[in-house]
């Protein structure tokens, strides 16, 4: 049963050891440690002994329910409506606080609601902030992964030409990657500033003053979008370089053959370039997905998760709870959930992009 890995391969193992050792020390062991912590009530600092609490950390994070609200009726049984004709509902807190009739909703908060007929369905969760940060993270990944990968590919195609001074462009596109993300975030905070930000000024100039200045990061509707745009811009250069490396492995002979056959530009791209980039595409997509799930620095510097939790993310919550609120077990629980999430998605991506 001796395989190549075990027979007279001491040198091989020796070379692999530093890498394996570091990965084990800083990634594998901390993961198992986090999993262990998520089953306890460990605090960052506390004189109280650590106790096993089973799955209650997971229960606190994940408990979710749907509460059906009947509209308020007057004595005659007609629905009370407000000035806009919408039915009025009892407050959610009358069900979730000190109400012995609804023990299943105790301590829950409203996440969102929708109408069905005259009743309102309210989704309530014990930890609404966690659900919001999960949803924000997913939105971020869903937008950033395809847009950033696509934009990076366009840039790579543009700079994959033999032109005078092309290296200057390559350097310019790559520059944001080299600058620290904290610095970039601070700069963009100025760009987005509601008072005298560059973005507002530029848009006003371009539209001859029709554009109303906005509070980009202070408005829940635009905050996450603003951070997406900035994040895409910041890391696009890195993925451009990976695409570029992929492009340069495609043999020039294939392009010559295509031009002899009379292929159009689009056909060349579709049938020569794109198939040649297959492995690069898988790599870029998986890397961007993982990076997007780890969104933290931009949030920490630019919005602190606000306004109204519209930009809070899983990693931000992990740090906020584990370190800020000294709740290491709570932070560990989120990071375990995040790990399982990223693992699942990476496996799905691998499956969908497998060699057929």
């Amino acid at each position: 049963m001796a395989s190549k890995l075990t027979t007279s391969n001491r040198a091989g193992w020796g070379f692999a050891l530093p890498g394996f050792g570091l990965i084990a020390l800083f990634i594998v062991i901390p993961f198992f440690f986090a999993f262990y912590l998520s089953l306890t009530n460990q605090r960052l600092i506390s004189p109280n002994p650590t106790e096993f609490v089973g799955l209650s950390n997971y229960e606190n994070l994940l408990s979710i329910g749907v509460l059906t609200l009947e509209p308020e009726r007057d004595d005659a049984g007609t629905i009370i409506r407000d000035d806009d004709g919408l039915p009025e509902y009892p407050r959610v807190r009358s069900f979730t606080r000190n109400n012995p009739d609804f023990p299943q909703y105790a301590g829950m908060q409203e996440w969102f609601r929708w109408q069905s007929g005259d009743t309102a369905k309210v989704v309530v969760a014990t930890d609404v902030v966690f659900w919001k940060s999960l949803w924000n993270t997913v939105k971020f990944v869903l937008v950033v992964a395809p847009v950033q990968a696509g934009l990076a590919l366009c840039l790579a195609l543009l700079i994959n030409q033999r032109l005078r001074g092309i290296n200057v462009y390559r350097a310019i596109y790559f520059m944001p990657v080299v600058v620290s993300i904290v610095v970039v975030s601070l700069l963009w905070r100025f760009l987005y500033s509601p008072d005298s930000g560059l973005l507002n000024n530029m848009l006003q100039g371009l539209t001859f003053g029709i554009f109303e200045p906005r509070d980009w990061l202070g408005n829940p509707d635009t905050a996450l979008g603003s951070i997406m745009a900035m994040s895409i811009w910041q890391a696009v250069g890195f993925h451009m370089v990976i695409w570029l490396a992929g492009l340069q492995t495609i043999s020039p002979m294939l392009y010559e053959a295509a031009s002899i056959e009379g292929a159009s530009k689009w056909q060349t791209f579709r049938y020569v370039t794109w198939p040649g980039l297959r492995n690069t595409a898988v790599l870029v997509l998986i890397v961007i997905t993982m990076q997007a799930f780890a969104l933290f620095a931009q949030i920490d510097v630019m919005t602190n998760g606000g306004p109204l939790d519209s930009t809070t993310t899983l990693v931000f919550q992990t740090v906020e709870r584990g370190y800020g609120k000294q709740d290491i077990s709570g932070g560990a629980t989120i990071s375990v959930i995040l790990f399982l999430l990223v693992l699942t998605i990476s496996l799905i991506q691998r499956f969908l992009t497998r060699e057929r």
Partner: protein
């Protein structure tokens, strides 16, 4: 021959120096003020004086930037590397004392009997930390603004009421001379929120946590008074009276001087710059929202770590630093409020008739410490988020309920934080 004598003298001198140093036991000290040369100069001066004044102890200071100071102490405590003397932010002290980072000071209480209450750090009936200064917050404006708007100048004896304060803000808004009536400093995230805004809540009659037991926030942070505070707070932003959470930090620093705001809720550390800009700057006391006017108390303080093998020496240093001349030196260097009347008289700014003496009176009359509990660290974070959310338009009752739940869950997870009846 001459050469030899010099050498001998030098040898003698070095050995003499070495034995003297060896006789002094070294005490390490951590300080949060790295990057501030004036502050470092005063501290180094005190340390040098102390080291020269006796032959038992030799204090060595290591400074950290304020942003990473608390993290460094926590990390050092986890790793068992705490120095002998640490400085600690007043409201955080109970957490560190409860966690076992600090030991009670061995200081004769008579030395501090004349101190303002804010700088004295008591936990569980024992003195754990003592501050060389305090800080205060005031409503900064100009006499000319008050006159233009036709407003009464409030005094310590007769501060503005809620109605008067609201009327003042409305008048400033209607005058059209300002971008916003009131600059609260929403750009300063972090401890500024609980430090400077929780006194509003307390003046309304609410609080972060029930101070009788420190076991619950129910009814205190989401009671009627707190709801009234929340509604008022939300109104400030909904009615465009104050810039919200996305206030530009630069506007916070210089906005008042640039004439953007009629009033600025700001600390004594910013007072010098404003006074230099406007000759008619006035510092108004906090309004009385119904339960007495309040401002926050307690700033950075000195304590002795539990890891110290020489708490007597560490305490001796702290006691040494409490002399009036050093209290005055800190105040002169960085504008902080000296903690005793006698030291205040030795400063340029806080002596009777001094330009900032009003802050001393404010502290004496209105100051209230933040909840003295190890759970404060978490409660401050929860409160900060609740204030930001309400300012951004979140439902007041739901937000305060959520804050109460989070605070109570945290207290429960920490087995009541060691408060005993």
């Amino acid at each position: 021959m001459k050469m030899r004598t010099t050498l001998g003298a030098a040898l003698l001198a070095t050995t003499g120096w070495a034995t003297m140093a060896a006789a002094q036991t070294e005490l390490s000290m951590w300080y949060h003020g790295a990057g501030n040369p004036q502050e470092a100069e005063v501290l180094n001066h005190i340390v040098a004086d102390f080291n020269a004044s006796q032959s038992d102890w030799n204090v060595v200071v290591e400074s950290f930037p304020q942003e990473s100071y608390n993290d460094s102490v926590v990390a050092a405590a986890l790793a068992g590397n705490l120095p002998d003397i640490i400085d600690v932010d007043g409201p955080v002290m109970p957490n560190w004392a409860w966690s076992g980072y600090l030991q009670p000071l061995q200081i004769d209480e008579s030395t501090i009997e004349n101190f303002l209450p804010g700088p004295k750090g008591y936990w569980d009936g024992e003195l754990y930390s003592i501050g060389l200064w305090d800080a205060a917050v005031a409503l900064v404006t100009r006499q000319s603004i008050l006159d233009d708007l036709g407003l009464r100048t409030p005094t310590l004896e007769e501060p503005w009421t809620l109605e008067e304060f609201n009327a003042a803000l409305d008048a400033a808004k209607e005058s059209g001379n300002f971008e916003y009536a009131l600059d609260l400093g929403m750009a300063w995230t972090g401890e500024w929120y609980p430090y400077s805004f929780s006194p509003f809540l307390q003046s309304f009659g609410g609080d972060l946590v029930d101070r009788d037991t420190y076991q619950t926030a129910e009814g205190v942070l989401n009671g009627e008074e707190a709801m009234a505070f929340g509604d008022w707070w939300q109104g400030l932003f909904a009615n465009d009276l104050a810039p919200g959470t996305s206030q530009d930090p630069a506007a916070r620093e210089t906005g008042f001087q640039d004439g953007k705001y009629a009033f600025s809720w700001n600390g004594n550390w910013a007072a010098m710059n404003i006074m230099n800009t406007f000759e008619d700057t006035v510092f108004l006391p906090a309004p009385d929202f119904g339960n007495g006017p309040k401002i926050g108390a307690a700033s950075w303080q000195f304590g002795v770590s539990s890891a110290s093998e020489h708490p007597d020496g560490a305490s001796a240093f702290i006691e040494f630093a409490l002399q009036d001349e050093y209290l005055a030196a800190f105040s002169n260097a960085i504008g902080l409020i000296p903690p005793t009347t006698s030291s205040a008289q030795m400063t340029e700014n806080y002596q009777d008739g001094g330009p900032m003496a009003v802050f001393y009176d404010l502290t004496e009359a209105q100051a209230m410490v933040r909840p003295v509990t190890p759970g404060y660290v978490v409660q401050a974070k929860v409160f900060e988020k609740a204030l930001a959310d309400i300012a951004n338009g979140a439902d007041v009752a739901d937000t305060l309920d959520a804050a109460v739940d989070e605070i109570n869950a945290d207290i429960e997870r920490n087995a009541g934080y060691g408060h005993t009846e």
